[in-house]
Symmetry: D4
Subunit: 146 residues, 8 copies
């Protein structure tokens, strides 16, 4: 039985690759999906439909186009992994967590110990909190093949 | 027809009071609800069921108890107002936004212009973005009585 | 047992008043709700949150604010009446019909015979098609008190 | 990961072909679905079950049969594209938009600038507004492969 | 805590009155609702919107108008009682049972022993099978006040 | 795109075969499913888990086992065809219709003209009424391939 | 804002009274609901509809009648408290917990420390675990009035 | 048409193997899924993310990780078989039953006669009660191939 895992959140480190490679090495039957992780492309998504003069609306337009992808991939995944890094607000990651929670879609958070307190509501609705991509792979391996 | 409005997010300024007083001055038929806004009490909610040695689990326990309230009040509201301030991560606010979005519960964001880019996914799923509590009251007045 | 009836669609004639007066004359236990029917106010709803330079975004902003009201009132109604007049595109009325259909919310259409063919998909998902406000009152009276 | 895209609305120009050919040229993993686009056949669908004397019921019968197809294809699609042309009322297209909105099915509108105001409620619930079939293909390409 | 009980099915005997009187005698906090039970009025409901030449469409029109009421009352009830008599096909009663089953709305069937085999699928999804109105009252009394 | 069609109702004539053969002759991409149509086997389903002394409970047990199949196949179908014959009560067919209606699963009824009045509520929620298996095949052909 | 709290599970000690009295002393705006807690009456519920020869079916019949009450009260509550005592299997309590979990209905478990391991799946989906009725009252007070 | 069957509950006997082998011998088109049935591994699942000092939280962490698997497999199954053995509390099995019931997922219980009374609420919401793995295979064979 194949699983689909959505990798949400932080886009500045290679955590997605680590998880994907780790799962591949174990030959786990997992299909990974992700939001667009090219920051500039993601910000410019709305430009495909014409440039905006106003920054707010440019962001708005881009976010909605990105939302077609993220909304669909979350709906189709079995599990989400949601990564919070050290920098930036990453409200989109917390938004995805809330979205998953309301849809009863199980998710695993991936973040360092130092932001535990700030993430307490997000972690409280999660099924697991991992500190490293290796741990995520361990959990996926266990969940899928044990 | 009475409306129920949930006031989510930042707890360090008096924005809730401003909205509540503004609505009262206009005699809007609105019942406002909120999460527990006493920071210390909120962090200590879990202690009601016994102290924890581990910070992560203390947070976890507290967040789940707070979740009984927030989950119920979000389910029962007609509209949510979600406030993002200048400080802190406020991931719980973004989490609530995602939760509302998935439940098709309309929400209004309330935040300054300088965090527009970071909030673009949250704003993209919102029904409105207000910059001041007065604007929120204006929108509620319009929506409810126009 | 009290009923809530949402009156959607055309805003240039007094069909809402006729229905409301007709129901009042019969003392039907109905609470009527409506979108904002002041055309200029409705178009300007977004201005409450600041003027836009671009017409598309002004419309967008206004429509979303109006959506807080319409979405909530549709969710809370038992039945909707959706009126199509002779002029204008009235796509919002057809949009509301599709929205009701997907939510299994029963609706009655109100329109003249000459637009029957154009409205066939909308009428096909309706529970009834009325030609006059009096007929709507008759149906409500029957449905609620027979 | 394959996507299913439903092409709703106007049937008098070749916009569907343009999108399908554009996606094919890019080898996008998309399966396109559509309502019956042969106008006469669509109007006559009900005749398969016997002719009607009354135009209203002929339309009604045909629309319901067409509804088996459209309802099913909307339910099974990931994204819908909803096209509004210059002529006709096209209430069925707006109906589909409302239906998608209520089912949390993301949709893209495709229409000229001159009908922006009339479509404001439909666009407000859309994830994107495209002016040309090429733009739709660009968005699909971005959403699916970026 | 008040309960709402929908009384569906057979309209040729006074079983509804027996249940209503029985509940009143016990002062049970129950609000009873019913479809229109005047057979002629029910068949003629569609005539409120104009006479039809074709019997099928007259029935169709009437049934949909009656459906506004029955659909709404079933949605709003806590429990349904569905009565099958000795005569007629009573497919509407079985239809209501299926509708309740799919909506996870608990229902009690009320019918004689001699039609047990024919009703086996309907009874299999019911929460109880009563043979007399008195038994229905006994069950309601137990369920609500025990 | 493949369709799944559930064939519910009457089991004493060969209408299912006629539809299946008709669809096969046209090479329609349809997978047909059905309840158990062997009457004796269906009545005896519960005996697999031990004989019952009481007829009511034997029926009950058998119906629930049959319900595993019918509930699952209805959930998985795109469209249902529900056949009513001249004899028997066939309350299970009407039950399936109500179940489909509540789940927004489109269905086509198949029955003779002489039972139109008794089936008016069932037909009112149907997407089409066919009089012959050939007509059902015509509708499926149109809906799937037009 | 009034809350409804369902008290599920063990019926041999006075934990319900302790919670109800504790809430009353604090004047919490809570309406408490419960299953039938008279063991003999609960076992005999089915006898209202006639005695059964077979113990399994007597239990079955009684459980379904009790299910009308429990299903309805769970659906209508905001929060459930689910109590596990020292004796008996209490599978109904665990069943209610699973039912609440699937319906996204928040629940608090109430049990001693010595059965923590056996209840780990039930506690994992709970919002809180209390050891005493006083703790439950403390949590309700906090959640409702803090 | 392939079926997916989830095998929940007791992990100390070989009932799962018996069912799987029985189905294989009959070449039933069934894919069986199960929770992790290695007791020690299941208890230690949480250790993959770091050891806990506190037994409650170790259990909690492990149960949530196991929940990723069980929640997903229940969501994806057509039918569940839920086994109760002679020993242990097995509250997780009853929890799964309640979870299935609320999701309208049909399930079959598998247990001896001596625990019938204690399981009455669980059996009341089940579609069948089997006493042996052979009977489960018989029911699956009937349901899938009759």
């Amino acid at each position: 039985m194949s699983w689909t895992v959505y990798l949400s959140g932080e886009i500045h480190t290679d955590w997605r690759d680590q998880i994907i490679q780790g799962a591949k090495a174990l030959q786990l039957p997992v299909q990974f999906t992700s939001p667009v992780t090219d920051h500039a492309a993601s910000d410019a998504a709305g430009d495909l439909l014409g440039r905006e003069r106003d920054d707010f609306w440019r962001d708005h337009k881009s976010s909605k186009i990105n939302g077609i992808r993220t909304k669909t991939l979350i709906k189709r995944c079995d599990v989400a992994v949601i990564r919070f890094g050290d920098k930036y607000k990453q409200w989109n990651a917390a938004f995805d967590a809330g979205y998953c929670a309301a849809m009863a879609k199980p998710y695993i958070t991936l973040h360092d110990e130092n932001i535990v307190h700030a993430l307490k509501e997000v972690d409280a609705a999660a099924m697991a909190w991992a500190k490293t991509p290796e741990q995520v792979v361990d959990v996926l391996k266990y969940v899928i093949t044990a």
